[in-house]
């Protein structure tokens, strides 16, 4: 993977919120950036607990997270809820709506957040004239598929502690990419949401946290996690290349 950035990455220096603040790690020239700018909408604010989109949302729109944190989840009629992913600043959201007319899951803000909307049709249109953009977009979709396969591996063959270790390392890496500390971070989601994502019950997640803490691999203070030994934590998850 040549780049660790998703399609729309905030310029660290930007303060206002027009499209020009967004740049792409695909080597666009100024004119191309301008073209893309025309397509991306101004930011939209979502309050903590609010919905970015519902299962029933019809618009084929992608969202670039400018700031904040989201979960996506499937809610079944029988009450079963499955968290399918967590999404942080700088990442892209909404790839599931392209296949049909509807989103297949809900996207809910776990803290006050800001997103930029990217109408998919328009993105498709301009990417026809900018090959590098199109290519980059395809890589992002493919990466999503690869990621999902990693989670299948996790859900299908790892035990509780391995799953949590894998999850923490994944979060760590993603925080690092965005320029935050990779050893000390706040998890925006609840134990229940982590559990849903990892196919575990919240009590099991809590126990796994405690276990890792007793082994002095991490420090847990409610939602604040500190990783004390990255290497030993990696060993925990069983040298699997999980959660890329």
């Amino acid at each position: 993977m040549s780049t660790n950035f998703d399609i729309v990455q905030l310029r660290s220096s930007c303060a206002t919120c027009s499209l020009r603040e967004l740049c792409l790690p695909v080597g666009l020239n100024d004119q191309e950036v301008h073209l893309l700018g025309e397509v991306v909408s101004h930011k939209r604010k979502i309050r903590r607990g609010g919905y970015l989109y519902h299962t029933s949302t019809k618009f084929q729109t992608l969202y670039a997270i400018k700031s904040g944190f989201f979960k996506t989840c499937i809610l079944e009629e029988d009450g079963r809820q499955q968290v399918t992913g967590f999404h942080m600043t700088g990442e892209l959201l909404g790839l599931d709506a392209i296949s049909g007319d509807l989103h297949t899951c809900d996207a809910i803000a776990l803290e006050n957040s800001e997103v930029c909307e990217i109408p998919f049709g328009k993105l498709e249109e301009i990417s026809r004239t900018i090959p590098s953009l199109m290519r980059h977009f395809h890589k992002i979709m493919s990466r999503e598929i690869v990621r999902d396969h990693s989670i299948m591996l996790l859900l299908g063959s790892m035990k509780a502690e391995e799953r949590l270790a894998s999850f923490l390392l994944n979060m760590s890496r993603r925080f690092a990419i965005r320029g935050y500390s990779e050893t000390s971070f706040i998890l925006r989601m609840t134990r229940e949401e982590i559990g849903s994502y990892l196919g575990l019950k919240l009590e099991t997640v809590s126990r796994a946290f405690s276990k890792l803490q007793h082994e002095t691999l991490i420090t847990v203070n409610n939602k604040h996690i500190q990783i004390l030994d990255l290497d030993r934590l990696k060993l925990k998850m069983g040298n699997t290349s999980c959660l890329t």
Copy 2:
């Protein structure tokens, strides 16, 4: 979803194996079909047990399955193996190689099979001039992501019997789409492979089969499955919209 066909669908009448046999459910005109034909290679045969591609395969190539049956799986150093999917005639394979330079899993033929190779770069190129093709391709990728989320729901919150019911119904639907019987079919994969896919051990899969048979929902004769009551089987899986 307007169409149930994947990007390359065999013309049922075709006997020879050049590109012209392939048609797309995207309303291409003759000239466009010809263009696409130039891109898709002649068929390649894979024997039962053979590899279509390895984890290390470098080429960003998609494969349209002309005939046969494949599994894709991740093989870990520690021996853990996770089947990430089964792929049948008419379906597309290799979407995972686009994100990087390498495939992230192996594709193995479960019976003698034939595929057409589609160099991804070339597909990208011509889809730039054929918007409907590009659109269709994006839908396929998105659908893959949605599918994976369904499997996460399955692995994360369903119990053994529900998983198997869900799996059988998914196979049934896919056979039906390709024009085969939706109530009587041969499963090419072993119990172990089903188990790996569903996050279960082979013994558990076997027991679940027996249980469903005792409840007269299905008939099991080794790899030959007959569904006796589709509706009751759907109830089994707990009204979840799983495995789309």
